[in-house]
Subunit: 332 residues, 2 copies
């Protein structure tokens, strides 16, 4: 029902209203002043025919698609889902559509998809955590309107990110204040910027608290990596474990408990991200709440600015808030 019967074009409307194509175009776009009587005739004709201008034809002539592309490494990752959600709703509120592309964690695909989707959209919002900096720089340089999520690349490119460094620093400080002196950090992907930021925070912490001991344990990004690290964590003698993200923390939490370790009495565990289920573990997971949906919304805001010809927005760094829950407590 709600669709134009076959292919009603602007010419049909013009014919029915007894005016020219341009008049229809103008009346419908409220562009130039059109005689109110004619405008009305056009509008009713359009309504009768259920006419809507073809977005394709419009895009071609206007040079803009009212669409933005979003490239993410994995649609299955809760963080990107939240970003996408915030982004999508913010863009929709401004009448923009969202084209998504899942690179399946492949850097090559990320590059290809960015270029390809760019041609169907007015700009691209890029989440490319693993792409080497030089490749990223090269990519964005020729891409037109780009907003980076959790990355940066030169002053002209807006970037929204979560301040991982500050967040991990807050976690460490919180634990330190509660008497913890021996920590273990389960690192994520070694070469990611997100991991680098965590390491910076750790380095600063070590400098500030020479008596504290922060061990690093290589790991992955998922539940299983956390589970796999359980023995090593327990053997380390640490009283507190900081995981690269909530999934890792949950894997660790679940596994150490199964081995008889009491959380938080024997071991405090902190995650990172505050994915929806973090509050539902037993005990609920203490974590740094990354405002992913807001990150997405901010990414859109920056993109909209670019599209409207504003100066590139300054980088925004959202400070994750510490969500203290049951998985962390004082050291014993």
């Amino acid at each position: 029902m709600p669709r134009p019967p076959k292919g009603v074009t602007i010419a049909d409307v013009a014919a029915r209203a007894g005016v020219s194509l341009s008049t229809v175009s103008r009346a419908l776009n409220g562009n130039t002043t059109v005689d109110p009587a004619l405008a009305e005739r056009v509008r009713t004709a359009a309504a009768d025919l259920q006419y809507t201008a073809s977005p394709l034809a419009r895009s071609l002539v206007l040079g803009r698609t009212q669409t933005i592309a979003v490239v993410v490494p994995d649609l299955g990752n809760p963080t990107f889902q939240a970003i996408l959600r915030g982004l999508s709703r913010a863009a929709a509120a401004d009448g923009y559509h969202v084209l998504i592309a899942d690179s399946a964690e492949s850097v090559d695909e990320e590059r290809i998809l960015a270029v390809e989707t760019r041609r169907r959209a007015d700009g691209v919002i890029l989440c490319a955590p693993r792409m080497p900096q030089d490749e990223l720089d090269a990519l964005v340089s020729g891409l037109g309107p780009v907003v980076l999520v959790n990355r940066s690349a030169g002053p002209g490119i807006p970037s929204v990110r979560a301040d991982y460094r500050a967040a991990l620093a807050a976690e460490l400080a919180h634990l330190y204040d509660h008497g913890h002196r021996r920590f273990v950090y389960l690192s994520g992907i070694a070469r990611s910027v997100a991991n680098a930021a965590r390491l910076e925070a750790i380095a600063a912490f070590r400098a500030q608290h020479p008596e504290a001991d922060v061990a690093e344990l290589p790991g992955g990004v998922d539940f299983d990596s956390g589970a796999a690290a359980a023995d090593a964590v327990l053997e380390s003698g640490a009283t507190a474990a900081l995981a690269f993200n909530d999934l890792v923390a949950m894997g660790l939490l679940s596994t150490v408990q199964a081995k008889g370790c009491r959380v938080p009495d024997d071991l405090s565990i902190m995650g990172f991200d505050d994915i929806p289920f973090a509050r539902y573990t037993t005990p609920p997971l203490t974590t740094a709440a990354v405002p992913a949906a807001e990150l997405g919304a901010r990414a859109w805001t920056a993109m909209r600015g670019l599209l409207e010809g504003d100066e590139p927005a300054p980088p925004v760094a959202l400070r994750p808030e510490l969500a203290v829950r049951g998985s962390s407590g004082p050291a014993h």
Copy 2:
């Protein structure tokens, strides 16, 4: 780097190769037989100029966009995320792009978005669990290629769904076989088809086992609704609770345990969906594993068939598999 400097058009390629526009078009599309030598010249010219045909112009003249639209009620819902993920990857494998639209749980928006995105895409895949059947029928009738997820609407409209009825029946049977006779079902949204399917399964179960008692408790779809139902469940005297979905089950699980109820000894709890975290609760949640990603992939397959002019694919109903984990056990 990887982008055409400004706006390289087919004419530029033609000029550089010393041929006509048509030849370029043909050579690049491998359409008609083109002199191999010329074709090669065209290809190198195109490569030199980094030329790629404008998808917009192509879409306009060809009448297809190589894009499909997906309308979901909430991008934040793990089930739709999984569907989207499977869909997106399957479509990408066939060279199609995905335009997403989040209706924010609004039926009105669903309708509007479906119509609107349809014009920018070759077809739309619709997840509209709450839309009344008559509205749905009216909507799809004029929409062109449509595939429905977890809904159906007439023989011409392909539909992929999870067989919720069979799945809940399997859950009930499993519990019954383990000695349970008093059940409580936490219903989801009353008017949803997904809930109706569950109720059918319950009705059949009651008919088959008159001695069993299945109480219904009205509820919602999220963790909090499950938590809120905890007291009522405990007071009901049931030995097994079946939740509308995993979120509800997790809320219930967490809350009854906090009240001292032992799971599964005092109460067996079963969820529905098998969202990624279901296996990570304590104890791990028994649930019916809805193959959401495959549902998405199948939706794409059906859509591709439509796009290629095949007969509408017959409805597919994927039978969720029972994932028996720690939250369920024999009745005591």
